[in-house]
Point group: C3
Chain length 278, copies 3
């Protein structure tokens, strides 16, 4: 498949400091704002329908996260998404828990009908559910059945590229193995550490970072998403080493992970990334 590289994505973000508008859940909103700052962007969070279009118009990127969606915020997401499309700025969807309830399925359906997404980031169950495939969502974690493994990698990759080709959105599927694909290209990332799953909102934070990188690199959304996935994985590994040395746990790990993102550069991705362009 076509070659590509991740260089310059983070440097551009630190240089441009894009304003990223997030309509997101209240569980991890603060963490998302902090990691947006850590990766070089500037966060703005507003969800009232009477102002979201104006907020989006100030921003360089938009991230829609349905973690604690309600009927009020779904309307706001639609308004912001359409505005972002009209302005040509990247829009990221984090379909938290897609497939778990009728509300989420319907909300995702309306969002996909009304908004062109640049990137959809979720676990494999969520990504399949978004595309109407039989996923197996049991809450917000990927179900065992739908886990991406070395064994089913080829099959999953084919399915994802087919889906990406249909919608035109880059897909980032994260788990033990991470895949980032568009209709023609794909990257497999092996960075990360299982203990990251013990911190709430790792996925939300990754979607935020991907939104920041895409906002600063709107012509390179696949590379932006891939750089975000690799960078988060590296941050998790580095934080885990610090935590292990100190006999700590997920409380200090979250703080260290944010610290590591503050120091993340294109060179770090180059040197510590363990990824393959497929």
């Amino acid at each position: 498949m076509a070659a590509f590289d991740l260089q310059g994505i983070i440097g551009n973000t630190r240089k441009q400091k894009p304003l990223v508008h997030s309509i997101t859940n209240y569980v991890t909103a603060g963490d998302c704002a902090n990691i947006l700052l850590a990766c070089g962007a500037s966060p703005i969070m507003a969800d009232d329908r009477s102002e979201v279009e104006e907020i989006t118009a100030l921003a360089g990127g938009l991230v829609l996260n349905i973690g604690t969606l309600n009927s009020r915020t779904v309307e706001s997401m639609l308004l912001s998404g359409r505005k972002a499309n009209a302005l040509g700025i990247p829009v990221v969807l984090d379909p938290v828990g897609a497939g778990a309830t009728a509300l989420r399925t319907e909300a995702v359906g309306r969002l996909l009908s009304g908004v062109r997404f640049s990137l959809i980031r979720g676990n494999i169950s969520e990504i399949l559910a978004v595309h109407g495939e039989a996923g197996n969502t049991g809450g917000v974690d990927a179900s065992w059945k739908d886990r991406v493994t070395e064994e089913n990698l080829e099959e999953v990759l084919g399915t994802l590229q087919d889906l990406a080709g249909r919608t035109g959105a880059v897909l980032a599927v994260t788990g033990a193995l991470d895949l980032v694909v568009d209709g023609e290209r794909a990257l497999l990332c092996r960075n990360g550490h299982p203990q990251m799953g013990g911190i709430t909102g790792m996925g939300c934070m990754l979607s935020a970072v991907a939104g920041a990188f895409a906002a600063a690199n709107p012509e390179r959304v696949l590379e932006a998403a891939a750089a975000a996935v690799v960078a988060m994985g590296i941050c998790g590994e580095q934080a885990q080493i610090l935590v292990q040395a100190a006999g700590g746990g997920t409380g200090t790990m979250k703080a260290h992970l944010l610290d590591r993102m503050c120091r993340m550069e294109d060179e770090t991705v180059e040197e510590e990334g363990r990824y393959e362009i497929l």
Copy 2:
């Protein structure tokens, strides 16, 4: 009174990894999600009335916290609570600020009428207010007048067991001294440290942990609540020692406390617990 022990509660939780549905306040939602993960459970937070029953149906336990309740979320709590009752999964109530306002008094009344709770966890003012006793709620902290002390312990215990016998719910009253009672049995816990009161959401986090332990041990709710109370107290003590050594404060203490919960086992409760079965 009847004997009981706390063994196996935490081990069961780590083995079963129960999904816990929380409808909770936005001030401490992230901390509650993180401590649920730390104690071996998996969090899901959703509060829109159109999906809460489906979410509850996926879960092994439900925690209702009225910290920032509004008319929209009270309805969601009622729907989820009834669903949990129908499915036979444990339901925990954290009546934050009960007695402080008419809205809270009325909401608690509706919840108690509509839902059978397995456990109610609060400070003594809140627990008295929940039962229509003259508490003295001044905000979210227990008022001086209603504090449990060595002197009034007998009297408080009698009152609580009477209340527990009436509602059928286990009661966990936390403060300088912690009491966990049902109509027949009682545990007094002396673990914990005053500096825990300097961290917002310690009570919310405790209710979440108790919900996780109860979800994994639905036939042993008294023991689950007691293990949660003792475990949180131990975490606070351990975190405070680390903070004291480093000259820190509540910012680092919260991270250390979460770290300690990641490493909490039944053996830790056995070895470091300072409790009496009354």
Copy 3:
């Protein structure tokens, strides 16, 4: 101009432990609650219109923050603000993103018409927007054009004192340089560190602390706001030193900053404050 000093502000707060009611955004609510505890106050957060007046009536101070306002919470803010005025307790406004959208401009207008504020705390763009002056709000950070510098200090000071004289509210304008003014007096503070801008909610937290200090010192709102500004700046400097030594970033810095506030005393402000009474 008239002389004043900051002594006693923090000691009074730690002695009185005022209950502070905040109607605030869900992004930084937990951080605001924690820093209220760290500075000696007790937080309560409630935003439903049917209970906010009762909550305010329990409190010694009120903080209104429009960070994630919506039509529901604006009404609650108005009710609480009027109640606080009737009771004579201090009210702080944090006009996050004022000037960025019609909703915010209109909300601020309604709040200023309906409520007498003791203190308004924001960046220079927000403060100008609040007063109908042509600010240049681009999201939640002060725009370059409106930055307070050594060069434009005189001019900005004149404008602010004119505005403060008109509304009767103390104004606290924070950025690289901080100014706290009423119609007659002014303080310039040089404490702080640029890395504080990498932590979300520093402004929200400062407004909360100012609300706590004002609640405990209602006759000395200018001094309370100034002590809060200086204290936060010192906390940021102290935290940054710890972070720099450890090779950390904003994740650990936030925890250290909270730790430092736990240990902040009037003497710290006296010894480490770098401020001038103008």
